[in-house]
């Protein structure tokens, strides 16, 4: 069953088209990573899903229209942006009091138990906590409302590498189970490679690529090609080619692994490499079409 479903989602800010007909469908129990360059429309998609902005086209989250029913949906849909959106003047205990006061599904004991593990003191003000602790606090609130859908917009922005890892560990170990759904964006694509189950690339307001991670692993191969085999490898039409320190890496889509193994050392590509290849290809096609 689709938890998030969009058809022809479009958003225009003044003269700028932020989203140009986005279709997406996120099933329950999936973790979708939405990857794109700056200004591609990632945040706009998430803001629309969280009911923060109006949009054109059709969008349903848990069967509801987020813009028309934001207040109702926020009971089941949690939204986390980077830690800077947490009000700095708020005390941890006040944050718990407030969310307990306004959220019908908030389980305070759950949040407190989680916070106890993280060493965040209830009397602390958010401005006195480290960014990592603020992220943990926000995650504690989200976990305690038992949200069915979690929308994460650059949740680890500004966190150092230890806290980023800790954040995703908490997310997977303490929050995520197969009954929940997560959609997230981040610039640190390498970090979410083993977190997400589905991936989408967005560029200039359009979804340019979508795949499950299983499919990605079986479909794409990055080959460190033997120099003498370069010509032969190129005839298999790699989708991307890059050279580092005199070695050539070719990225293939849907080519048999055995054939590639004869030409060099195959491995599963990183999301970042795939991203560069796909976005580069899309840009090339757009240029070609322009001509």
């Amino acid at each position: 069953m689709a938890c998030i479903e969009a058809h022809g989602l479009r958003k225009v800010f003044g003269a700028t088209v932020a989203l140009e007909g986005v279709d997406l469908c996120v099933e329950r129990g999936r973790i979708l990573g939405l990857i794109g360059p700056n200004g591609a429309g990632k945040t706009t998609v998430l803001n629309a899903i969280a009911g923060l902005i109006p949009y054109e086209g059709e969008l349903k989250v848990l069967g509801r229209d987020p813009w028309a029913e934001r207040e109702l949906l926020t009971r089941d849909v949690a939204f986390m942006a980077d830690v800077a959106v947490m009000p700095r003047w708020l005390r941890v205990s006040q944050a718990l009091d407030y969310v307990a006061g306004v959220h019908p599904r908030f389980e305070r004991a759950k949040a407190e138990a989680f916070l106890e593990k993280t060493g965040v003191r209830p009397s602390s003000k958010i401005q006195d906590l480290s960014k990592g602790m603020v992220a943990q606090l926000h995650l504690a609130l989200v976990m305690a409302v038992d949200a069915k859908v979690l929308v994460l917009d650059e949740p680890t922005l500004g966190l150092d590498i230890l806290y980023r890892k800790q954040f995703y560990d908490s997310l997977l170990n303490d929050y995520f189970d197969r009954s929940r759904t997560i959609i997230l964006t981040t610039h640190e694509v390498a970090e979410i490679q083993h977190v997400i189950t589905d991936i989408m690339f967005i560029d200039a307001g359009r979804i340019v690529f979508r795949s499950t991670m299983e499919e990605l692993d079986s479909r794409f191969v990055e080959l460190t090609v033997h120099p003498e085999q370069l010509g032969a490898a190129r005839t298999l039409r790699p989708i991307h080619e890059r050279q580092i320190l005199g070695r050539t890496f070719l990225l293939f889509d849907g080519i048999d692994l055995d054939r590639l193994a004869a030409l060099g050392e195959p491995r599963t590509p990183g999301i970042a490499d795939l991203f560069v290849a796909v976005i580069g290809q899309a840009a090339g096609q757009a240029q070609g079409a322009g001509r």
Binding site: N47, A50, G51, R64, V85, L90, V99, V102
Partner: protein, 309 residues
């Protein structure tokens, strides 16, 4: 609440609709508390002013007590009693501090959450924009008037006590303390006065909240300069000053509508100076409240579309 027919079965609609109806006021209550947490000056402002007044009054009372008889000698018929005058001055100062706090609060209320980006966090919780705006409007319209009235009563009691102590200590007579004006009646008149003032000023607070939710920066200038500009424009272009007198009426019109000619602080029966009938039948009150409602609706609509700036 009519859920759409294609609601997915995951949403616990039937069980949550009843508690939701009961708990409708809870988000409002907690939002008001949230405002008080964030804006400590709302509760502290009038209290600090009252503390300063009490200290000043203590010094003054010691000074007066050193001159026995001075009080009675100074008493001139139809003039404010010199003992009661400080009570009135204290009340006026605290009311004015409440007005300033209220105005300052409104200017910030819907602006700061956009500047510090916390609006994203608040909007991720199940609190509607209408509830948020109403909770913010409740600060100058309900919380501050009650606080101001309470602080005035406590300040008056403190002044009375100080007066008493100083006079007993200095051996001065308590005769002059038998005030012309009964304090309890005065307090009721005060409560009525601050309530009338809050209702009368509702469109001013509403306007400040609206501009606070609209302006990207310099909220106070956006709230005040256009009004001044329109007044000047009208004066120069048409040699009339309807807009300026309309504004003047909004700022000072409440007093003649809410009270009879005498000041409640200085008469034997303060309650007789109240004119609630006149106030409630004044079109200015109801027009003002209607305009305030429009401004607040506008502020809620703006907030719905607003994000961080």
């Amino acid at each position: 609440m009519n859920p759409p027919s294609n609601v997915v079965p995951e949403l616990p609609e039937p069980e949550s609709s009843v508690p939701a109806a009961i708990a409708r006021t809870r988000p409002f209550y907690w939002s008001v508390r949230r405002e008080l947490w964030e804006n400590r000056f709302v509760s502290l402002g009038p209290v600090v002013v009252a503390a300063v007044i009490l200290i000043a009054f203590l010094i003054n009372a010691i000074h007066l007590a050193g001159r026995p008889g001075a009080v009675l000698e100074l008493h001139i018929p139809n003039q404010p009693n010199p003992i009661e005058q400080p009570y009135a001055i204290a009340a006026i100062l605290i009311v004015v501090s409440g007005l300033l706090v209220g105005a300052f609060y409104c200017v910030e209320a819907l602006h700061r959450e956009r500047v510090d980006r916390s609006i994203v966090f608040w909007k991720s919780l199940p609190v509607s924009d209408v509830t948020t705006v109403l909770s913010k409007a409740a600060i100058p319209l309900v919380v501050l008037p009650l606080l101001v009235a309470g602080v005035i009563v406590v300040t008056h009691l403190g002044m009375l006590l100080l007066n008493l102590l100083v006079r007993l200590a200095s051996g001065a007579g308590l005769v002059a303390l038998r005030a012309q004006t009964p304090l309890v009646e005065l307090w009721i008149a005060l409560l009525y006065g601050v309530a009338a003032l809050a209702l009368w000023y509702a469109p001013i607070y509403g306007w400040l909240l609206l501009v606070s939710g609209w302006a990207r920066r310099a909220v106070f200038l956006w709230a005040s300069l256009p009004l001044i500009a329109v007044s000047i424009l009208e004066k120069i272009a048409f040699s009339t000053s309807y807009f300026a007198s309309f504004l003047g009426y909004r700022f000072s019109g409440w007093w003649p509508e809410a009270f009879r000619s005498q000041r409640p602080c200085c008469v034997p029966h303060p309650l007789r100076t109240l004119a609630p009938g006149t106030l409630l039948s004044a079109p200015g009150l109801w027009i003002g409240l209607a305009i305030a409602a429009i401004f607040l609706a506008g502020a809620a609509r703006l907030r719905r579309h607003n994000g961080p700036i």
